[in-house]
Symmetry: D2
Subunit: 143 residues, 4 copies
Amino acid sequence: MAAPRPRRSDYVIFRPMQTRWMDNDVYGHMNNVVHYSLFDTSVNAWLIEQGLLDPATSESYGLVVETGCKYYAEMQFPDAVHAGLRIARIGSSSVRFEIGLFRNEEEEAAAEGFFVHVYVDRATHRPVAIEGARRSAFETLLV
Amino acid sequence: MAAPRPRRSDYVIFRPMQTRWMDNDVYGHMNNVVHYSLFDTSVNAWLIEQGLLDPATSESYGLVVETGCKYYAEMQFPDAVHAGLRIARIGSSSVRFEIGLFRNEEEEAAAEGFFVHVYVDRATHRPVAIEGARRSAFETLLV
Amino acid sequence: MAAPRPRRSDYVIFRPMQTRWMDNDVYGHMNNVVHYSLFDTSVNAWLIEQGLLDPATSESYGLVVETGCKYYAEMQFPDAVHAGLRIARIGSSSVRFEIGLFRNEEEEAAAEGFFVHVYVDRATHRPVAIEGARRSAFETLLV
Amino acid sequence: MAAPRPRRSDYVIFRPMQTRWMDNDVYGHMNNVVHYSLFDTSVNAWLIEQGLLDPATSESYGLVVETGCKYYAEMQFPDAVHAGLRIARIGSSSVRFEIGLFRNEEEEAAAEGFFVHVYVDRATHRPVAIEGARRSAFETLLV
C-alpha cells in the first residue's frame, strides 16, 4: 500500500454506479464484497454495450480466473460511485481489466481492483483466442 | 392477478435504479429477491434525502414488519429500472409504502410491492408516534 | 399481526440454513431482503433434492408470481436459521409454498412468508399443468 | 496459475458453508463475487466463536484493506462448500487470512483467496496492536 492511490486520470472510461441499502454492513460502510459486484457489473455492462457479449447466446465469454481489490477509504450507501475502467494487458485468450472506484466527486480512488477473464467456448469451456472486434474494442481501453 | 398492472401515473415520485450483473439468476432474469432490495433502497434513499433518517444516529427509525411483491413481467440486467413511490396509509406509528418497478421506459409496472414500517425508538425498539416533519413529508406521498 | 406467530409444528419439513456476515445491515440485524433469499433457497433445494427440478434442463419450472413476508422478531448473523416448509394450495398450474424461519432453537417463527410459483414451459413461458411426480411430491407437503 | 491447487491438508480448520439459489448467475455457476462473501463469513464466524469479536461492541476490529481470489473450478448451488482457514502472517496490527473453498468432498480447492485485516480502534479508526488473546488465537491458525 506504499503505492499512491489511483486518480481519475488513470482510467479511460467511467460509469456512474449506485449503492444499495443492503451494501452497508454492520459497521455502517459498504461491505468489502460489494466492491466486486461493482467491478463485475461495470465490466459486463461495457461488454454488453459494445456488442461483445450476449449472456444468453454468445458462443464464447470471459470466465473469471482471478480478482483482487485494495481498499483505501470507506464508501457507504447512499453514495454515488464512479467506476473507472482500463485494460492493463491483452493476452492471446485472457484480458486484465482494472477498475477504480471513486466516491461521489472525489479525485482519488476509494478502492482499486482487477478482474482477469479467460475467454472460453460456451460449450467446451476451452480457451479461445481474443481477436477481431473483441480485440479491437479491448485495445481502446488499453493503457 | 386479475387486478390491472399499475401504471406510472399511479405513483407520486420516481427514482432511476440500476441493475447489477449478479441480479440475474440462472434463468437469465432478475431474481425475485432483488426486487426487495430495490424497494428497500428506494424507500431509504428518499428518507435520507428528506432529512428524515440518518442510519447511524436517528433516535427512531422504521422497522420492517411486512413486505410483499407481485411480479408481472421479467426484468434483467442491464435494464434500467424506475421505482415509483407512494404511501397508501399513515397510521399512528406505522406507514405503508407502495412501490412500482418499471422496466426501462415501459408504462406498466413489471412488479409492484409494499413495505410496512413501524417506527421504533432506536434503544428500546418500542413504537413511537409518526409526527412533525416525518408525518408532513409522508403526506406528500399519500394517495 | 393479530394472528399468532407460527410454531414449528405448523410446518412439515425443516432445513437448517446458515446466515452470512453480509446479511446483517447497519442496524445489526438480518436485512429484510435476506429472508426472501432463504425462502428461495429452501424451496428450490427441496425441488432439486426431490428430482423435480434441474435448473439447466427441466422442460418446465416454477416462475415466481407473488411473494410476501411478515417479520416477528429479529435474527442476525451468526444465527442458525431453520426453515420450515409446507404447501397451502396446489392449483392446476400454481402452488403456494409457505415458509417459517426459526431462529436457532426457538419454537416460534421469527418470520413467515409465502412463495407462489406458476409452472411454465421453459421455452414458451406458458403455464403447464402440475401433474405426475411433481403433484405427488407437492401433496406430501400439503397441510 | 502455474502453482498447484491447494489441498485440504494446506489448511488448519474447516467450516461447512451453504450455497444459496441466488449465488448462481446466468452461466449456472456460483458468481465470482459470492466467494468473497464466503471468505468474509468464515473469517468473522471464527472470530466471533473465539470470543475475539462482537460486531456491536468490540473496541477494535479488523478493517479489510486487501482481498483476492483465484478461481480454479466452478461450484454451484446446491453444492456444499467447505472453507479451509489458515493465517499466513501476523504483523503488528495486521493479519493475513487465507481461505480455500472446497466443493463438496473434493480434495483440491475450487478457489483460494486471502483477506488482509488491519486492526483499528472503533472510534478513531487508527491501527491498534494485535496482542493478548487475539494474537494467541491467531497463532493457532498460523502456518
